[in-house]
Symmetry: C2
Subunit: 135 residues, 2 copies
DNA sequence: ATAAAACCTGTAGTTACTACAGGATCAAGT
DNA sequence: ACTTGATCCTGTAGTAACTACAGGTTTTAT
């Protein structure tokens, strides 16, 4: 089916997706990316399908999905029925995670800002940041 | 100097700082936490100084400082002069990191929200989230 | 004295890659 | 056909900051 002008080396796949060659191999080991055919000499021969799949993986990673979440999503891509709802749930759960992380970081941000603020007021010989932390 | 009623086991130290016993050992291996004296049988005997130091480490970790940043801060705690400025710089640099992370996560949040939004509109048999990601 | 709790060391697992080492193969030019 | 340089192959080890054993010793409480 996929035959004409449809062969990519690992390097070409890397270039067109922005995913490093070594990482592509890693995804294959993980079972995330389908194992491609091999040349007589053992080199991997990828197709347009791999390209599509890898682009999907990269996008999901950029959105902060973990490998196993992506694995789940790829599994759902095949199973039709009910899968849409599952995808939505996975995405929603991930959104919650992201929001919690933001909350934590905001708390850190406030504390760090406060620590630095102490410095501006300061004129004592001791470091006020250390004073607060090392109490 | 530190002698009376001033001996803690690893477990006691763990309980009073909220840092797990195994993690305490890890910090010692890292060189973060000073190696304590040992009993005849080889058990670690901590002092109030260790308690103080470990609390400092825990606070810094909660604020997102890396181990090596904390190592740096602890080094500065001794060296007096100029160290306050260094502490402030380390803290400021860390604050920038935290803010960048927040920015990234916000971008993720927006995208995820958008993806989920697609679902609410949707009535087609295909999953709109997958459609967008798997394009 | 005995038994349970806590401790000891060293090693391996976690996540998502990245970076080698030491070869083999491929593609292009002559 | 041959050579050369780029790319590819495998397997392993390293990264950050822990966590979790296994298999044994010590401490503490009764």
């Amino acid at each position: 089916m996929t035959e004409l002008g449809n062969r990519y080396s690992r390097g070409q796949l890397a270039k067109s997706t922005g995913v490093k060659g070594e990482t592509i191999r890693y995804y294959e080991n993980c079972g995330l990316l389908d194992a491609p055919a091999r040349s007589a000499g053992g080199h991997r021969i990828y197709t347009k399908d791999h390209l599509r799949q890898l682009k999907f993986i990269r996008r999901c990673r950029e959105l902060g999905f973990t490998i196993s979440e992506i694995d789940g999503l790829l599994g759902l891509a095949d199973a039709q029925e009910k899968s849409c709802e599952q995808v939505r749930l996975t995405t929603a759960a991930h959104l919650t995670d992201v929001r919690n992380k933001i909350k934590d970081l905001r708390k850190m941000e406030r504390s760090l800002k406060e620590l630095i603020g102490q410095c501006e007021i300061n004129s004592s010989p001791d470091c006020p940041i250390m004073d607060v932390l090392f109490s």
